[in-house]
Symmetry: C2
Subunit: 246 residues, 2 copies
């Protein structure tokens, strides 16, 4: 039909197996808050972010490489770790030159799934680095899977909205034969870019959860575009900053 | 918090396991075209519709009970069966008093999954019987799972739109702590009730597939509200008409 690469959206890790990850770039999306924090830490000069899938592995690796251990379970700092999953914990004066060892409930797990399933390239995306993600995907001319981390295999609103934002911006460069992608794009358009208002009005589950922890500031930051517009690329166990072509 | 029953939307059979089906009414949704056709056949006087999960079982049972065998695989009449999955194949003069043995790609499979997972009651829903479904769910005051059949475990637009229509109408009677439900309702609202136009504009995968088979008439019928507003209830292997309380 045409020579455009394809773009699909996986709304939940439980749906990732439906998509062909070989020869594809997989974008790991965990807006509240893992991938927002990853972009922020790298933007602020972290040497790398190492995503690990368990708290014990996080502690072990943190000791081994003298890294900052961080992570949450069910939205709170996990026991035994030094830091949580808030982007505000990683300003330049703290994180510059350091390595962050991060374990999160949903995002890290999805990243490891994508790795096992043979993704050609893995990057992370969030509103904080929306432009960098879009620029990269439109330049690469490869098939794309937007992988929403969701919450314990349920899809969630904020990750879907981010997928929608990407599709609204660069969908025209892809062949999008995927109802999930159209759903996401429609949702993003319906939000009228007032993402915080949209999440509140719709009583989004994670909005509710984090507001109960007093984290409105985090939510607002994580829903703001391009506060930390770098491109984290996964290479040999680490998320590293990719220098952007200018 | 409150005493309202809960309502969740499962966007794909691959997500059904995330929801507690015990003590719940599960609505099987396969708008194009299984559940539209089930409502139509019963509305037109079919004695019952027996959903089966394989073509061979369909043929075997059809012979045994002298029923009409029908079904599709990948959108076409399956080999060895007498009829397809179009609602227009089942006018009153043909189907009245007869039993329809039906096998479909996605809807029948989801129904059997719901059965195995212990759903308290299983009904089928489509735009053709939207009001009957809404009336029943709002009267029963039980937890509800809107189960979208999708397409080979991918979510699809029309089933999600139907879930959204139900939520738009009767969501206020339920506690809806479920992002999928909010997304479905938003999408339905965004369609502005021009469902055919919305499916076309968004190049919905199944719209495209059926249009290629020359089935615009089927799509338009299946997206029209209350053409056959009866309530099919699953009982001991059969979908039967439930008499509505007036």
């Amino acid at each position: 039909m045409n020579n455009k690469p394809t773009l699909h959206t996986s709304l939940s890790p439980a749906l990732l197996h439906l998509y062909d990850l070989n020869n594809s770039i997989v974008v790991i999306i965990d807006v509240l808050r893992a991938t927002s924090t990853i972009a922020t830490a790298l933007f602020n000069g972290a040497r790398s972010v190492i995503p690990v899938d368990s708290v014990s592995r996080c502690i072990e690796l943190g000791k081994q490489i003298d890294g900052i251990t961080a992570g949450e379970r069910d939205g709170k700092v996990a026991e035994g770790l030094e830091h949580g999953n808030s982007p505000f914990e990683y300003p330049r004066e703290f994180i510059e030159g350091k390595t962050l060892v991060l374990t999160t409930t949903n995002g890290t797990r999805l990243l490891h799934m994508a790795l096992e399933k043979g993704a050609d390239e893995i990057i992370t995306g969030a509103f904080t680095n929306l432009s960098a993600v879009c620029e990269h995907l439109s330049q690469m001319k490869k098939n794309v899977i937007l992988g929403c981390a969701g919450w314990k295999d349920r899809m969630n609103m904020e990750d879907t909205l981010f997928a929608g934002a990407v599709i609204s911006k660069i969908g025209k460069y892809f062949s999008v034969n995927c109802d999930s992608s159209h759903l996401a794009a429609n949702m993003y358009e319906k939000s009228g870019k007032d993402l915080f208002g949209f999440m509140k009005k719709n009583n989004a589950s994670h909005y509710h959860r984090l507001m109960n922890f007093g984290l409105e500031k985090d939510i607002r930051y994580c829903l703001t575009e391009d506060e930390a517009s770098v491109l984290p690329v996964y290479k040999e166990g680490k998320l590293l900053l990719k220098q952007r072509n200018r």
